[in-house]
Amino acid sequence: MALAPPAAAPLAAPPHLPRRRLRVRGTSITLLKEVRERAQADLGFDVDYELMDFITCQRQAAMQPEGYDIYEQCFHNLDIVWFWGALQPIDTDRIADWNKITDLSKEGGISKYAWRGHGDAPVRKLYVQPGGFLGPKQGRYISMLPTVHNMDSFGFDTRVFGHGDVKRPSWAWLLDRRAKGRIALVDEPAIGFFDAALAAEAGAEVQFTDIGNMTIAEIDALMALLEDRRRQGYFCASWRTGEEAAQLLLDDRVSAQSMWSPVYGHLGKMAEVFVESAPVEGYRAWHGGASLSRHLGGAQLDMGYDYLNWWLDGYAGAVMARQGYYMSAPERTKAALAPEEWAYWYEGAPAARDLLGPSGDVVVKTGARRAGGTYQDRANRIALWNTVMEEYNYAARSWDRFIRRVNEGQK
């Protein structure tokens, strides 16, 4: 994948020749300095990262596709960005390791018998169907190259809820009276909304016929419940980024909150009391990937494909693993990780030594075990995928109003 030096400049690159450049727009899930630097070194062109929060990223990607070459986001928001016509199909014939991508990404479950989860499994947005739709019927062209994914849950304070061994953690804890005034939710409507929905249903407060595709009445019922809890003072904040989530914990403001995997590595002393749950109801899963902007063509498109192929090559997967994310092509990731790292992150084994995060600080202490066990165990217990439901516009606007009130602390 190394680039041949320009033929016209055998000695040194002339100063007037601009470096080739690939612009990547995405979120903190994948836009890591360590990934970018290695990609630049391996690929021989500049890689610019433009990091945004989920909602801003999605809006900009949909409405300004000229502003980026590669879009790194989650499958569920293809419902928005793809239908704005912002992306172009990816030809899997140009993805060398396409056959190394696992069935969770390509088929919808890690095995034929695995429960698929409610909502939109990524496979339902993966393949380009006739008429420009996206669907699970396999074909040569895809909307997004599947890369990182994870099964999310909430985190809880063991001083309040115990260690989860006597009574197993339930999503209901996220709306539990014991954490009243010390609950925070992530503000993205396709994510935080479902954390709250899982909590409401687990606590038998609201019932959904299909939690992955709620009716207006069900959305209203959920929002009414949340508003009632808000008025009672259950929620202390909402957050948009992992840093904000970590800060809430470091300030000792929360006892239960939505969590993203990398945050657990940055809790300092709080890591002793605030832990990841493996909820009895199962996980809320998500799947990320990379897409090509509509405008890419010619040499720029070739660079886009080089970058996509590089993502499956191992290094990026190893960086992702160190923040708790799984990779769609695990074979090469395994080769790029130390055996102790692979054992902890993918196999649920106790950490044989202190493990470092992507930027080199210790994120896992010797002897620690990943909540929920092995990759197989976790992937088999997906309750729900992050989803943009049919009534998303309605739900998202109701959710935004709710979050605004939480943040303004209105009575």
């Binding site: 239908f83 704005w84 739709f133 207006i216 049919e390 606007r397």
Partner: protein, 328 residues
């Protein structure tokens, strides 16, 4: 209590009057081929808002008297004749506005004058949630009496854009995926049936003319073809009640669609191909095959419209709502 105006045109919708003026001035040559028609200057000349001018230009485009081009506005003359754009102020041309039309345009107080503008604003707001329409504010906004406002509101109600809630307030929205789905289900039942009935009454030459413009004429948009299908095919069904039901069912969809396109949502390229196939089936095959295809086409349109409802979620509410619309 108001006096019935003696001018019979005073009851005509404003866009209809503007269409008449432009049509007759194009026919007489007062508006030469290639002249760029812009909404703003025409609105100023006719002392109207832009919305009825937009509607008038759309009607004339459907009639082939004007056409869209790569620049802003419309060009006078039929499409694909390579007419060079002529950019001059429309006020500089000797436009003939019949006295009666002019008087009618000046007449305030008839609800039809304001209807289109209000409909567009009310349709757009529904995408963002539930709104109450404050009658007094609407009267102030339009500069008319409560009587006229009530006429406008009852028309909006007939069209399914607003309804009264338990406390007798006029409520618009929220537009939901369920509403869209239901309307499209109804379309898929009614419209193929009407097309079957209309079969013997369709003028094939009109449909062929549209079919042949799909592709070569880049100005022909799916909305225009949908309107043509309605006007030249479905509305020919010899069952007035059925045709009215279809038209009423489409009204909310049409106004919302127009509002969303106005917000910059992408156009649907694939729909053009489907209309070509549909028009071809209408003129060359038994009408049953066209009716079956229309049902499939409507199912695809339903899926697209549902997808469109999701993507509007990224549009923030800073678009600004008319002052008579109060968020609930």
């Amino acid at each position: 209590m108001t006096l019935r105006p003696s001018n019979p045109l005073a009851q005509e919708p404003r866009y209809e009057l503007i269409t008449q003026v432009l049509r007759s001035n194009i026919a007489s040559g007062a508006l030469p081929a290639g002249l760029v028609l812009l909404e703003g200057p025409i609105a100023a000349l006719m002392q109207s808002s832009r919305i009825p001018v937009q509607a008038a230009l759309r009607t004339l485009a459907l009639e082939g008297l004007v056409h869209r081009f790569v620049g802003r506005g419309y060009l006078v003359g039929p499409p694909y004749q390579d007419i060079a754009p002529l950019r001059r102020d429309i006020a500089a041309f000797d436009l003939k506005i019949p006295q009666q039309v002019d008087d009618a345009l000046q007449t305030r107080g008839t609800w039809k004058h304001f209807y289109d503008e209000v409909e567009e604003q009310v349709a757009l707001c529904q995408v963002f949630g539930e709104f109450r329409i404050v009658e007094t504010e609407l009267a102030d906004y339009l500069g008319v009496s409560r009587t006229v406002v009530r006429d406008v509101l009852s028309r909006l109600q007939e069209r399914g854009l607003i309804a009264k809630n338990a406390s007798s307030h006029w409520i618009a929205g929220p537009l939901t995926a369920r509403t869209l789905r239901e309307k499209f289900e109804l379309r898929a039942i009614l419209e193929p049936a009407a097309l079957r009935l209309a079969g013997p009454y369709i003028h094939h030459s009109q449909i062929e003319a549209f079919r042949d413009r799909i592709g070569p004429d880049p100005t022909l948009k799916p909305e225009g073809l949908e309107a043509a299908l309605m006007t030249y095919c479905i509305a020919k069904a010899p069952n007035t009640a059925l045709v009215e039901m279809i038209q009423t069912n489409q009204m909310l969809l049409t106004s919302v669609n127009r509002a969303l396109t106005g917000l910059g949502l992408p156009e649907d390229e694939i729909a053009l191909d489907q209309y070509r196939t549909l028009f071809d089936l209408i003129v060359r095959h038994p009408i049953d095959s066209a009716a079956e295809y229309l049902r499939d086409h409507l199912q695809i349109m339903a899926a697209k419209n549902l997808a469109r409802m999701k993507i509007v979620a990224v549009i923030s509410e800073t678009v600004g709502f008319a002052p008579y619309l109060a968020v609930q």
